[in-house]
Symmetry: C2
Subunit: 668 residues, 2 copies
């Protein structure tokens, strides 16, 4: 008999199968919530509201009778008859099969489309003229003197002496883990070692020691944790360290140094679409733990994917840089975001300590530290600080407006001398939320639209060549509304012209008029794809909030849109927006188009740059301190600007003279 | 059915009972080693050799037949017949009862005797004239401004701002654990908090935050880990911090601040008596882990004892300072001492990083850091640095010789300008090892002896009033040998005068003569207690090594004993030594007795002082760097000095003129 007994994993009471991917899971408890079971099985079902039945997104088709609940006014009568239920309202009593329809699935294929969207070196050089290349975590190869009778100092001091002999580092310490393995490693490797050091503010700390190799490989992970999607890049730090001699010789964008990248939806999406829903979820039971584990799971999957595609081992990674908004930062670290949501909107910290990645649950070696970008306020986070850093606004004389548009619009205004910032809640419209046929920018989403001004017939393009359209994404919405405005289908209030001679404009089921973009026979969902007055209203409020935010920020420093010398559009959504159309609906200001720069995911770019340079880590801190946050929550000026901007393009025609001219000319 | 199954702890195959304390343990494996079972049961059996049957100390009496092995030439025939076996050689096959005889038990009662041996404040003031009182870890009470619309900085910066407002700390950071609990604590305690900070070299780090109390309690643990015994004191840090205004107002010895103390034998003793045996044990299987857990177990017991006697909770402790020799330091931290024993005798580090106590296995709250004193070399450790610090040698003009005598004798020589040090292996004789009736200084040990020079009858005293003598401890040995020398029972070679008219001097069983100190009828072990020529030889070599070490150290700087202005005797053993007798056998030099100072456990004293003052932490580092280690292992001068000193008192009569006079006068 052995001292230990093997405990077998008990079998569940029954099994649940999820289609279309045939995922099976054992269930142990009667009456378990179906959405929870899906999450446990790693099956994603869209759910925007955090599981309270209010969004109606988690529609699934159930085969079998072993469940109760799941019905909701969000489902059509026919759907209920066919077996459709809301997963979040369904309690499972026995084995069933659950079919997840296309519109409830999360589709990651969109990320493949983004892959090539990266700023060129020359463009970044223009944005960010100077910084020193000097990675926070770096490795050096050393051959130690072997100890003898006359030189028998201890192992650690021998190592430190050798480092000091080669480099001008004044103070060097070591982690306890290094001390534990040091005596074995140096002797097994015949006194030739690779040493990994992190440059802290006051000293250098040895965080790892390995048998020496002449070609030292040293990688970092640059990460952007978005509310919706998470992106990471594996960076070859030697690509800059080897070229340390001068800025002109290196690829300053770090573009060449990217040896792998991957993106996934943030698994937290299953618990709510926006930060507020997530914060609310985090306050219930072990919600905080659930959300922390969800983002860690996403990151582990991303890292696994990148590593599997590369010839690099995890041991060769030595640092991880994360940029995220304040709520995502706190959820990633397991710090409750409770007080972010309660007035006076206080985050727990601006600068979080370096944390060992493995302590957060990441499947990474023990020596790897995670650096999170400092935040500014509860709603202007590390992703924006990272974006400001990457785009060099803080170094330039030009007055720049920086906009990162998503469910929250974060806006920064300023130059090398001053920076003000704010955040305005745009709602989920830009990501297809709250829009009848809205969807994220994934396969089958309509993203380009032209409408023939004579017969009002549309020409549409959807993402993916072979897909029938299944919905409209944010950038598509902007184009549709701008086209409808310019062709006179809708007026500047966003209401339909009911006198047009076309079957496409009709009264909808829910009252109000709608425009049919795709007839049922041509759509991938079996019903017409339409846009209605409520949808237009939602988008007008979204773009109105962003525009009013910009205007309020300018007002706060006594400036107008004419003073802007540059407008930087950042973010995953921003890069798909058609500039002209965005101006026409009044999302962007009507100024010289040449002043606009699209930078894509500047948050990820900033992460990458910081992994290259400890000085930039300090710069991030300085930027965060330099940014003055303007709270819009009870700002009277913002409220009146918002009302003025909830119009197409704006109630103040002087702000959009060319657009007004266009509208007038078509109407004639 | 629940998701989890309760797994019952399986019953053992059979039980072993240990007497006299009736401890029972379940055994799962046939043929398990009896010493290992005893260790697992928490039952101590003396074992000096690390379990290889060579020391013969682990003698036990077994009732029952379910075992094999255990016989040894170390046991008398009669003993084997009575059921005595060596535990380390016995393999258990079924239930047995194991009786541990007195001489195999570890007895902690001796520590109670030490309790009152502490240096007075005035004495320490004399030794150590100045240091600033400024604890490394301290607590402050703060009332934070509540956040509002116009002051909504994050929680951490709010806390740091409040600290800076009250104190002139420039750079303040926080641990991740603090960040995690901060938002809850400050709000639950209505923005009144106690903050625990550690003063590091470059900054202050917040390591804990608790609800505020007006009377802040703040304690430290000062620990001395000896090869044989472990002592700890619980220190009230406020006792000095409250009196921060000036050195004259406070109790500089920290004597008053000791609110609890306890000592135990180092549980590692079961795996070998000296550092070399321990190092050898650490290299076998998971020996390192076993030894690390053994010392942690001892410390946990000591801490539990101190806490139980006090009204202080573990949460009120905020720092732990440990002084230990190099091997004990590394074993405590779990760092392999392998290379300490292999030429060129290299420790892993001189200064180990601060380590979280709970990570070492100590039952202490997560925020407590453990500081270990820096070492000098493989055989001059942190306990000696601590002793040099506590006795202020490094601050004084006077040339001082510092001796810490145990199984190793560590010697330091110098003053404020220079310090040289060495370590010489004295062997276990001073702790009763290798002596036929030798034992540690515990209950029943003979520690004082006078011999009547006319009839050679002894007058003895043993430790503990009611105990019959059961052996001779180190200080007793010194007295016996000095008495025998002075009364002419032995000559200067340590050989017996065979012509004396007394039954007490006789030929022993094992060849050579012996002196009977206690007849069987008066002894607690049922046999005569004797001292034989082999014992005397062992002690001569032990004292010879120490004296030769001192001489070699003096030679190395061109000095003689006459140049010494002070001799400090430190260590648990040292304080029991009769000065006059120690000079007579040639252990101590024959110089003015007034130059000798006994300081007791100066290692523990240094620990206590460092817990009071971060400046002293830096001082310890400086002392360690200041100390030049002289290696005696293949030092030719030492070898010839050793031979000259293996004589009573010494071959050079000029070094001991008074002793020679005494010997001559008695002989006449």
């Amino acid at each position: 008999m052995s001292t230990f007994q093997v405990v077998q994993k008990p079998e569940g009471k029954f099994k649940i199968k999820f289609l279309p991917n045939n995922v099976e899971i054992d269930v142990f408890k009667d009456g378990e919530n179906l959405l929870k079971i899906a999450m446990a099985a790693g099956v994603h079902i869209n759910a925007s509201c955090g599981g309270i039945g209010s969004c109606g997104k988690c529609k699934v088709k159930i085969k079998g009778d072993n469940y109760i609940g799941g019905k909701s006014p969000k489902l059509e009568k026919e759907e209920i008859e066919e077996g459709f239920r809301l997963a979040c309202l369904t309690k499972v009593k026995g084995p069933i099969e659950v079919d997840i329809p296309k519109e409830s699935q999360i589709d990651s294929s969109v990320f493949q489309l983004d892959k090539d969207f990266l700023l060129s070196s020359s463009k970044i050089k223009h944005l960010l003229p100077s910084f020193s290349l000097n990675p926070t975590v770096f490795k050096i190869y050393l051959e130690l003197d072997k100890p003898n009778k006359d030189d028998n100092i201890n192992d650690l001091d021998r190592l430190i002496r050798a480092i000091k002999k080669k480099h001008k580092f004044e103070k060097i310490t070591a982690t306890f883990d290094v001390v534990l393995k040091l005596p074995y490693i140096i002797r097994e490797s015949d006194w030739k070692v690779n040493v990994t050091l992190v440059a802290l503010e006051e000293n250098y700390k040895i965080i790892d020691v390995d048998p020496g190799t002449i070609n030292i490989r040293n990688y970092a992970l640059a990460v952007d944790i978005g509310t919706t999607s998470v992106s990471a890049q594996l960076i070859d730090l030697n690509k800059c360290f080897l070229n340390y001699t001068g800025i002109d010789e290196v690829d300053i964008s770090g573009h060449e140094s990217v040896v792998g990248e991957h993106s996934l939806y943030n698994a937290q999406v299953s618990y709510g679409e926006d930060v507020i829903t997530r914060i609310v979820f985090s306050l219930k039971g072990d919600g905080l733990k659930t959300l922390q584990q969800a983002i860690v799971k996403t990151l582990n999957e991303i890292i696994e994917n990148i590593i599997n595609k590369s010839n690099i081992s995890k041991d060769e990674i030595s640092f991880m840089v994360v940029a995220a908004n304040t709520t995502m930062t706190q959820l990633f670290l397991g710090v409750s975001p409770k007080y972010i949501r309660e007035a006076p909107y206080v985050p727990t910290a601006k600068t979080f300590p370096l944390v060992h990645a493995h302590l957060l649950g990441l499947n990474l070696p023990n020596h790897i530290y995670t650096y999170t970008f400092p935040t500014v306020s509860s709603y202007v986070g590390g992703d924006i600080v990272s974006g400001v850093l990457a785009t060099g606004i803080y170094q330039q004389r030009e007055i720049t407006l920086f906009m990162d548009i998503g469910t929250n619009g974060e806006i920064v205004l300023g130059n090398q001398d001053w920076l003000v910032c704010t955040s305005c809640s745009a709602g989920p419209a830009f990501e297809g939320g709250g829009i009848k046929n809205g969807m994220r920018a994934s396969l089958g989403a309509i993203d380009h639209v032209k409408i023939n001004p004579t017969n009002f017939e549309p020409m549409i393009m959807a993402i993916g060549d072979d897909s029938k359209p299944i919905g409209i994404c944010g950038s598509g919405l902007i184009e549709i509304i701008s086209e409808m405005l310019i062709t006179g289908i809708i007026n500047q209030n966003g209401k339909f012209n009911r006198d047009l001679n076309t079957p496409r404009v009709r009264e909808g089921d829910e009252g109000g008029y709608e425009y049919v973009l795709v007839w049922a026979k041509d759509s991938g969902i079996g019903t017409d794809i339409v846009i209605n007055e409520a949808d237009i209203d939602n988008l007008m409020r979204a773009k109105g909030a962003i525009f009013a935010g910009c205007k309020t920020l300018l007002d706060s420093v006594g400036m107008t849109f004419k003073d802007l010398q540059r407008v930087i559009i950042a973010g995953g959504f921003g890069k798909f927006i058609n500039l002209e159309r965005a101006v026409e609906i009044g999302l962007f200001p009507e100024i010289d188009f040449n002043k606009f720069i699209y930078v894509g995911n500047s948050s990820l770019l900033g992460s990458r740059l910081v992994s290259f340079s400890k000085d930039l880590m300090r710069t991030a801190e300085n930027i965060s301190n330099m940014m003055t946050n303007i709270e819009l929550a009870d700002n009277v000026n913002f409220m009146s600007e918002f009302i003025a901007a909830t119009f197409l393009p704006h109630t103040d025609i002087n702000l959009f003279p060319n657009t007004i001219k266009k509208i007038s000319s078509i109407k004639k």
